[in-house]
C-alpha cells in the first residue's frame, strides 16, 4: 500500500457501535419513487406500476414537479371491478399492456412494478410478466419487480429493479477476460468519467449497469468483478454473486477519499500498478481537494443530523466528517446493510449515533434536543423544520444530482454549504414565517 492513498480510520470508527432500531411512522418514500430516475437512465424501458390512484399520485408528486417531457412510466390503476375477481385483473392487465405497447412500439423492456395493493391482493406479477413476455416476444421483454411500500423504501426500488434485470444479463464466455462492472444508477456524465478513468488505468473491459439501453446489457460470469456505486443494492449483489460475479468491497465514491478508496479497490483487484494508478487519478484528486477546500471553512465544526431516506446517509456522513470536518450527531438510515457498509462504518467517527428505521415523532424530539446546525431530511419535514429555525438540506437532491466521483466532490460539498450560505445572505429575514 502506498502512503498517498492509504487512509486509516481517524479513531475506532463505528464498526461495533450500537444501532437504535426504531419502529413507527416512517417519513420516507416507497420503492416506486426509483422509477423517476430509472426511466431516464434506461432509455428504452417503460415502467408500468400496477397499483392504486395513490401510486399514480405518488410517482407524479414525488419529484416535486411533474416531468412531462417524455414520461416512460404509467400506472395501471386497479379499481373495484378488478378487486371482485383476480382472473379478471389479469385479463385487464393484458389489455392495458397491449394498449400501451401498441402506442409505444419503441419500448424494448417493460417492467411491471408491484405496489402495496397488488401485493396485498396477491396479484402474481411474476406470472403476469412471463405471460406477457410470451405474448410480446421478439418485440418487448417483460419483467417485474416490487416497489411496494410494504417491502421497499425509496432507493430499494432500484435494488429490486436491478436484481430483476440480473438474470437477463448474457452469460460471459468461460475463460473470458476479467471485466469490471460498475453497478448502480449514476448520472451519465459521472459514469463516463468513471469509465474513462478505469480505462486510463488499463482496465479496458469496464461497463456500467444498468445500461442506457436495454439492448446493451453487459455479460456477466465468474470473471466479472463488480463495484457498487450505490450502497442500497443488497439484492442486486446477491443476484450478481449467484451468477458467479465477485463483489469488490470498498467504501462508496463520495468525496476525494471515498472515490480514491473505491477506485483503488478495483485497481488492486485488476492488479493495476500502484504508481500507474496514482498517476492516473492524481489530477482528478487534486481537483477534488480544491473543490472541497472551497467549502471547508463554511462547514468545518458544524453539526449535522440525518433523517433516514436513501441509504446514502452513512457514506455522506463519512465524507462530511472526514473531508469537511463536520460533526455527525445522529445518522439515520432506513436500512443498515452492515456487510456492504462495513468499511464506511469503520471510517465514521466514533460516537456517532446510528439509527435504523424510524419513528418520526421520536426522531424529531431527538433532533430538536440535539440542536444540530443542519438537518438532512425529506421534503415533508424540511419546511416545517426551517420554520422552527433549523437549517435543512433536502435529501432527495442528494439522489437526483451528480454527486459521485472526484469531479463532483466539490459539488457535493456545495450542496451542504448552500443552506448555510443562503441563511447568511437572508439573515435579516430570520424568524419570519
Amino acid at each position: 500500500m502506498n502512503a498517498v492513498v492509504e487512509f486509516r480510520p481517524r479513531d475506532a470508527g463505528c464498526g461495533d457501535a450500537p444501532v437504535l432500531r426504531e419502529r413507527g411512522q416512517r417519513e420516507v418514500f416507497c420503492g416506486l419513487t426509483g422509477i423517476i430516475w430509472l426511466h431516464r437512465k434506461i432509455q428504452d424501458a417503460f415502467f408500468l406500476v400496477v397499483g392504486s390512484r395513490t401510486c399514480a399520485h405518488l410517482v407524479q408528486s414525488a419529484a416535486g414537479v411533474m416531468i412531462f417531457a417524455e414520461p416512460r412510466f404509467a400506472t395501471a390503476i386497479i379499481d373495484d371491478r378488478d378487486l371482485a375477481g383476480l382472473a379478471d385483473a389479469n385479463e385487464e392487465l393484458d389489455r392495458v399492456v397491449g394498449r400501451l405497447l401498441d402506442r409505444r412500439p419503441d419500448i424494448k423492456l417493460l417492467f411491471l412494478v408491484g405496489s402495496c395493493p397488488s401485493e396485498v391482493i396477491k396479484l402474481d406479477l411474476h406470472r403476469a410478466a412471463e405471460r406477457l413476455d410470451g405474448i410480446h416476444r421478439g418485440r418487448t421483454r417483460v419483467l417485474n419487480y416490487s416497489g411496494s411500500g410494504i417491502e421497499t423504501t425509496f432507493t430499494q426500488g432500484e435494488d429490486a429493479c436491478l436484481a430483476a434485470l440480473v438474470p437477463e444479463l448474457p452469460q460471459a464466455a468461460p475463460g473470458a477476460e476479467p471485466e469490471l462492472l460498475l453497478v448502480g444508477t449514476v448520472a451519465d456524465i459521472v459514469e463516463d468519467q468513471f469509465l474513462r478513468t478505469f480505462r486510463a488505468m488499463g482496465i479496458e473491459r469496464v461497463a456500467g449497469f444498468p445500461p442506457r439501453r436495454s439492448t446493451e446489457l453487459p455479460a456477466v460470469g465468474p470473471n466479472t468483478r463488480f463495484l457498487l456505486t450505490q450502497p442500497f443494492l443488497g439484492d442486486t449483489v446477491r443476484a450478481l454473486e449467484a451468477r458467479g460475479a465477485q463483489h469488490i468491497a470498498a467504501p462508496f465514491p463520495f468525496g476525494e477519499e471515498g472515490t480514491t478508496l473505491w477506485m483503488r479497490a478495483a485497481a488492486d483487484a485488476f492488479r493495476v500498478p500502484t504508481t500507474h494508478f496514482e498517476q492516473v487519478i492524481a489530477p482528478q484528486r487534486e481537483r477534488a481537494r480544491a473543490g472541497i477546500a472551497r467549502h471547508r471553512e463554511r462547514l468545518a465544526g458544524r453539526s449535522i443530523f440525518f433523517f433516514p431516506d436513501s441509504q446514502l446517509e452513512l457514506p455522506l456522513a463519512r465524507f462530511l466528517a472526514r473531508e469537511l470536518g463536520m460533526r455527525p450527531l445522529e445518522v439515520g438510515t432506513p436500512y443498515l446493510h452492515r456487510q456492504l457498509l462495513a468499511q464506511e462504518l469503520d471510517l465514521l467517527p466514533e460516537g456517532t449515533a446510528l439509527s435504523e428505521g424510524q419513528d418520526v415523532e421520536r426522531q424529531l424530539d431527538r433532533c430538536r434536543a440535539a440542536r444540530p446546525d443542519i438537518v438532512v431530511c425529506g421534503l415533508g419535514l424540511a419546511n416545517p423544520l426551517e420554520s422552527e429555525g433549523i437549517t435543512t438540506k433536502w435529501s432527495i437532491e442528494l439522489v437526483f444530482s451528480p454527486t459521485h466521483g472526484f469531479d463532483q466532490a466539490g459539488d457535493l460539498a456545495e450542496l451542504f454549504a448552500r443552506p448555510f450560505n443562503r441563511r447568511e445572505r437572508l439573515k435579516a429575514l430570520e424568524g419570519q414565517v
Binding site: T54, A56, D79, I150
Partner: protein
C-alpha cells in the same frame, strides 16, 4: 384497470388530508403503509406550509400483515392523541389498508378516547380526492354540529332587532386553488355589505367552530366540490339556506351580492355599491378589441370550468369552442354549460383524451389546469391556469384571488397575459417573413425564455402520441391518402405566411373546403376561397 399517465386528482384520503390540514385542532390517524407519507410534501412543498399536516400514518409493513396490524393502528391512535392532544380525531384507511379491512373506526371507538372520533369510509378504488374532501368535511360537520341540530319542525329563531345578519363561508381547504385569497376577498365583500362572517370552514376552523356552524343565518358555499354535501346537511338540519352563485367574474359577483342581499334581508342596491371591478371597463375599452372571438378551450374542476367559460364568453368576448371537467360529480353542470355554448362537454379524467381534444380543436387560448398548461405548451397554444390540480406556482406570494371584484381583475390580467398584444398580432400577420417574427418567436412581453416549443418528434412519448398524431395528420398533407386533396407548392408556401397560431386552423379549413368541393389540388386560390367560405 385504467391506464393512467397523469392524474387530475389524488386518492380520497388525500382529500381527507386537505380537510384535516385546513382545520386547526384536528388530527387524522391514517392506516397506511410506508410511502403514503409522500402526501405530506404536497402541503409542505407545493403550498409551502410551515407545519406538517396533522396526520399520523401507521406505516405497516409486509411482515405485519400476518400479525396484528389492528394493534398497530390502536397504538398509533393512542400515541397521536397523547402527543398532539387534538380536540377531535379523524380515523380512516388509505387504499392498501382498505384491503386488509381492519376497521379503523371500530378500533378507535374501542380506545374510548375522551374526544370526538369521526370514522371516515373513503372507498379508494371507486372515488377520488375531491369526493374524499367533500365526504370528510360532511362527516366532520355532521359529527361535531350534529348534537346541536334542533328537533325536526323547530322553526329557525328570528334574528333579534339590531343583530347583524350572519353567515359561514364553506369550502376552502388546504391545497385549494387560490382559496387563501378568495376567502379574504369574499369575507371583505360580505363584511362591507353588512354581513357578519361567523365561521370560515374548514380552512382555519376549530372543532368548536364546526360545532357552532348552525348559529349563522345562512351559508356561503364557495367551492361546491368540497362543501356541497355539508351545506345540504346544514340546510336540512338547521334550516340554513346557502348561496348557489359562485362569485367568479364581475357579473357573477354582482349576482352573488344580490343572492346574499336576499338571504340576509339587506337592500340590494346599497350592497351593490360596495365595490366594483376594473375588468369590465378594461374589456370594453377599444384596446381589447383584438380579444373578440378568440377561440378558447376550458377544462378544470366543475365549478371553475363553468365559471371560466361564462367569464370568457360574457366578459372577454371569447368564443368557447370546448369545455370539460375531470369531476364526474359535476358532469351535469358542465354539460348544461356546454349546451349553452353549442359544444359537446368532455367529461374525463384521462389526460390523453384532453390532449387529443385540444389538438383537434386548435384553440387560440386554453383555460385549464397545470395539466393543460403542459398540453398547451407542447402544442404552442397560450394557456392560463384556472383550476386545481395545482403546482407551486398556484400559490403566488402576492394577493391573487379568483373571486369577487379583485378576482375579476386578476382574471383579466392573467388570461390576457399569455396572448399576443393587439397590434403586435397585426404586425405579425402583415410581415410574416420578417426574420424576428419567425414561428419560434413568442409575444414580445413574454421574453426569450418562452419561445414556442418544437412540435413532438416521431419518437414522441405516449402522453403526446395522440396529439402528435393530430399534428401529423395536418403536417404530412403533402403525402395524403388516396382521394384527399393535395397541396400545390405555391399554396403550401402561402400557408407558411399565416401566423403559426392560426395556421393549423387555416390548413384544416382549407382541406375541409377542398374535400367538400371536390377540389383535388389546393392552390393559392383555394386557400382564399376557403378563407372567404369560413370567414367569421
Amino acid at each position: 384497470m385504467q391506464l393512467t399517465l397523469w392524474t387530475y386528482e389524488g386518492p380520497p384520503h388525500v382529500g381527507a388530508m386537505r380537510i384535516a390540514t385546513a382545520l386547526e385542532d384536528v388530527h387524522y390517524v391514517l392506516h397506511a403503509p410506508q410511502g403514503d407519507t409522500y402526501a405530506d410534501l404536497l402541503f409542505t412543498m407545493i403550498e409551502r406550509l410551515p407545519k406538517r399536516p396533522p396526520v399520523t400514518y401507521t406505516t405497516f409493513q409486509a411482515r405485519d400483515l400476518g400479525g396484528d396490524t389492528a394493534e398497530l393502528f390502536k397504538n398509533a391512535a393512542r400515541e397521536a392523541h397523547e402527543r398532539f392532544k387534538p380536540a377531535a380525531m379523524m380515523v380512516g384507511a388509505s387504499c392498501t389498508a382498505e384491503l386488509i379491512q381492519d376497521d379503523p373506526g371500530g378500533l378507535a371507538a374501542a380506545l374510548d378516547l375522551p374526544i370526538p372520533v369521526i370514522p371516515l369510509e373513503l372507498p379508494s378504488y371507486q372515488k377520488k380526492e375531491n369526493w374524499g374532501a367533500a365526504e370528510t368535511f360532511y362527516q366532520m360537520v355532521r359529527g361535531l354540529a350534529g348534537p346541536y341540530v334542533p328537533a325536526p319542525g323547530t322553526p329557525r329563531p328570528v334574528r333579534a332587532e339590531g343583530v347583524k345578519p350572519s353567515c359561514n363561508i364553506l369550502g376552502p381547504t388546504a391545497l385549494g386553488f387560490r382559496h387563501r385569497d378568495d376567502v379574504r376577498e369574499i369575507r371583505g365583500l360580505l363584511e362591507s355589505i353588512g354581513v357578519e362572517v361567523r365561521v370560515v370552514a374548514p380552512q382555519g376552523a376549530t372543532a368548536a367552530d364546526l360545532a357552532r356552524l348552525g348559529e349563522a343565518d345562512f351559508n356561503v358555499v364557495l367551492y361546491p366540490e368540497t362543501a356541497q354535501s355539508a351545506a345540504n346537511w346544514l340546510q336540512r338540519g338547521f334550516g340554513q339556506p346557502y348561496t348557489k352563485t359562485i362569485p367568479i367574474g364581475a357579473i357573477a359577483t354582482r349576482e352573488f351580492i344580490a343572492e346574499v342581499a336576499a338571504l340576509a334581508g339587506i337592500d340590494n342596491d346599497t350592497a351593490q355599491a360596495a365595490g366594483r371591478s376594473r375588468a369590465p371597463w378594461y374589456s370594453r375599452s377599444v384596446d381589447s378589441t383584438y380579444l373578440t372571438g378568440k377561440r378558447v378551450f376550458v377544462f378544470g374542476d366543475g365549478t371553475h370550468a363553468v365559471a371560466a367559460a361564462r367569464v370568457a364568453a360574457e366578459e372577454f368576448g371569447f368564443t368557447v369552442v370546448g369545455i370539460g371537467t375531470y369531476s364526474r360529480e359535476f358532469a351535469r353542470e358542465v354539460r348544461a354549460a356546454a349546451e349553452k355554448y353549442g359544444v359537446e362537454a368532455l367529461i374525463t379524467d384521462d389526460y390523453l383524451e384532453v390532449e387529443a381534444r385540444v389538438a383537434e380543436l386548435q384553440p387560440e387560448l386554453v383555460l385549464g389546469t397545470q395539466m393543460e398548461r403542459h398540453i398547451a405548451k407542447r402544442l404552442g397554444v397560450p394557456c392560463a391556469v384556472i383550476s386545481a390540480p395545482i403546482h407551486v406556482q398556484d400559490f403566488p406570494a402576492r394577493y391573487a384571488p379568483q373571486m369577487g371584484f379583485e378576482g375579476a381583475n386578476v382574471l383579466f390580467d392573467t388570461w390576457v397575459h399569455p396572448l399576443m398584444m393587439g397590434l403586435e398580432e397585426h404586425l405579425l400577420g402583415m410581415f410574416r417573413e420578417d426574420f424576428e417574427f419567425h414561428d419560434g418567436a413568442a409575444a414580445s412581453h413574454l421574453g426569450h425564455g418562452s419561445s414556442r416549443p418544437q412540435p413532438p418528434q416521431s419518437d414522441a412519448p405516449i402522453a403526446i402520441s395522440e396529439a402528435a398524431a393530430g399534428i401529423a395528420a395536418s403536417s404530412s398533407a403533402s403525402e395524403p391518402a388516396a382521394g384527399e386533396p393535395v397541396w400545390a407548392n405555391d399554396a403550401q408556401k402561402e400557408l407558411g405566411k399565416i401566423p403559426f397560431f392560426v395556421r393549423g386552423k387555416a390548413r384544416r379549413n382549407t382541406e375541409r373546403y377542398a374535400s367538400e368541393h371536390g377540389v383535388g389540388l389546393i392552390t393559392v386560390e383555394t386557400l382564399y376561397e376557403a378563407k372567404a367560405h369560413f370567414g367569421r
